[in-house]
């Protein structure tokens, strides 16, 4: 459903992506692994229209979406949960979720989607009147994911959802992502926590220096000695 071919992105004089290609199929969870500065976040930003492409193409359901502004990308169902959660800290949980559905014009549909999010993430329902900034890190991540779900994603892009969270909380977040993909939403998951990501993904890519250097089914990657050494650590 999503196909990136030979993507190139420059920031000023710095090259962030130098010919990156990857595919996400319908309903699939794909992990994007790599070290800091490898180009993972830039890849997501390029898909969302936050950064300009210097080359290459982005095709979504057979149509090129490269160069479209971010709101148009969201309207197509490509929803990006940014690194560091970026929730609106002085707005309430409920208001944060409402903004996730900014493009939903039908009030009843919006209410229905909020109900679904509160069902999936009951913790948010308990705190719906609280300001976003008062939530714990894990709750903030759930809010960021919930907010993206209200937009009605066909492909959900998550940037480092496990960052800064305790191992137990990471497991809870991964379970939520797994639940979302089980309902048929495709997921593109950027992670430094390769072990957690490969557990819920079907396939994975390893990015180095703005290029994919390795790809394959998740099980294969977690057994690959290069991945084990670089990202999983010897057991």
């Amino acid at each position: 459903m999503l196909e990136l071919t030979d993507l190139k992105v420059n920031y000023g004089g710095v090259t962030a992506l130098r010919g990156l290609s990857l595919t996400v199929r319908e309903g699939e969870t794909v992990a994007l692994l790599g070290n800091n500065g490898a180009g993972k976040t830039t890849t997501l930003s390029a898909i969302s229209g936050l950064v300009r492409l210097a080359g290459g193409d982005i095709k979504y359901q057979g149509e090129s979406v490269a160069g479209e502004p971010p709101p148009a990308i969201v309207a197509r169902g490509l929803v990006h949960v940014p690194e560091g959660r970026r929730i609106f800290s002085t707005l309430t949980v409920h208001e944060n979720l409402l903004l996730g559905g900014y493009l939903v014009r039908d009030g009843k549909e919006l209410a229905r989607r909020l109900e679904r999010v509160y069902e999936l993430l009951p913790r948010l329902a308990e705190r719906r009147g609280q300001e976003g900034g008062t939530l714990s890190g894990g709750e903030q991540q759930m809010l960021a994911i919930g907010r993206a779900l209200v937009a009605g994603p066909k492909l959900l892009m998550l940037d480092e959802p496990s960052m800064g969270l305790a191992p137990l909380v990471v497991a809870a977040v991964m379970e939520v992502i797994h639940d979302i993909s089980a309902e048929g939403t495709a997921v593109l998951l950027v992670e430094q926590n390769a072990r957690a990501a490969l557990e819920i993904a079907q396939r994975g890519y390893v990015i180095e220096n703005g290029r994919c250097t390795l790809e394959g089914p998740a099980a294969e990657l977690s057994a690959d000695p290069r991945v084990v050494e670089a990202y999983l650590g010897k057991v």
């Binding site: 940014p82 409402l98 900014y102």
Partner: protein
């Protein structure tokens, strides 16, 4: 005593209309829009021109005419605000804030001296005056016109508060103030919302301009300068960027001026007001209801 309070609240409600636009623009793009006071001036002149064009119609029912002109002027100054944002501020988005600030000063001069060329340097006298008979309310002399003007300001402020607090657009404005990039990822058209903020703020300043013209009677092309600074003071007192705080700050400033001039004399009014600006900037720069500075990360 009650006369002083009444006068203070009346002047304060004028300040509030202007200060709200100041604070909304600051809140959303962190720009001190120095041209904002000049939109108030533009409103006064637009209203003046419209009343002149309506001519004889006006005399019979001046208050109704003034309200019609008020609405039309709000649309005009609102569009004026849109143009300034599009031409002067949007091209500088993402640039250092100092460039934006200097551009705002430039926009202010452009409006002032543009009006001087168009309407001449001499003060103009408004064709309608809101003086009329006074009634006694709790020991204060209050005119019907004052009551109507205050009711109009109050209605505009309530409408704004509901808009910002309860609608998706208002929520988007508050969200952009916090994190414009995250807003893009929600599908919010950030540029359009910022433009709308300028429209609303400028329309409210224009409304205040027409009301001031009708109330004080005399307008000139530099009238926006002092009121712009007063609006800034009101916003700082209440907490710049904070809408309810700014309403409160404007009323507080009106009362301070009213009592201050009573005690130390009318010629000290501006000294008194800007003295408080300095006091607040030193002692409590976040204002009475200012934004919390510390946030959990």
């Amino acid at each position: 005593m009650s006369q002083l309070i009444w006068n203070g609240l009346f002047v304060g409600s004028f300040y509030a209309l202007v200060a709200l636009g100041y604070t909304m623009v600051y809140g959303i793009i962190k720009l001190l829009n120095f041209a904002h006071g000049d939109l108030y001036m533009l409103g006064a002149f637009t209203g003046f021109a419209m009343l002149g064009a309506m001519g004889g119609l006006v005399r019979s029912s001046s208050l109704v005419a003034l309200l019609v002109v008020l609405v039309l002027t709000m649309v005009t100054t609102g569009l004026g605000g849109l143009v300034i944002e599009r031409v002067a501020y949007r091209p500088l988005r993402g640039m250092p804030r100092l460039s934006l600030l200097i551009t705002a000063v430039g926009a202010s001069f452009a409006l002032e001296y543009g009006t001087r060329i168009a309407a001449g340097p001499n003060p103009r006298v408004y064709p309608v005056r809101l003086d009329g008979a006074a009634v006694d309310v709790l020991g204060a002399r209050v005119t019907m016109q004052q009551l109507v003007l205050m009711a109009v300001s109050a209605a505009l402020m309530v409408a704004l508060a509901v808009f910002i607090g309860r609608t998706q657009q208002g929520r988007a404005m508050r969200a952009i103030a916090l994190d414009p990039k995250a807003c893009l990822l929600m599908g919010i058209n950030v540029d359009a919302i910022i433009a709308r903020t300028f429209f609303i703020g400028s329309a409210m300043a224009g409304a205040a301009g027409v009301m001031a013209g009708g109330y004080y009677g005399k307008i000139d092309f530099l009238m926006g300068f002092i009121i712009g600074l007063k609006a800034f003071t009101a916003a700082v007192i209440g907490g710049i960027g904070n809408v309810p705080g700014t309403m409160l700050g404007a009323l507080v400033l009106g009362l301070l001026e009213s009592f201050g001039t009573h005690w130390v004399g009318g010629e000290w009014r501006d000294v008194f007001a800007f003295g408080f600006l300095i006091l607040f900037l030193t002692v409590r720069p976040t204002g009475l209801l200012g934004e919390r500075v510390t946030e959990r990360v």
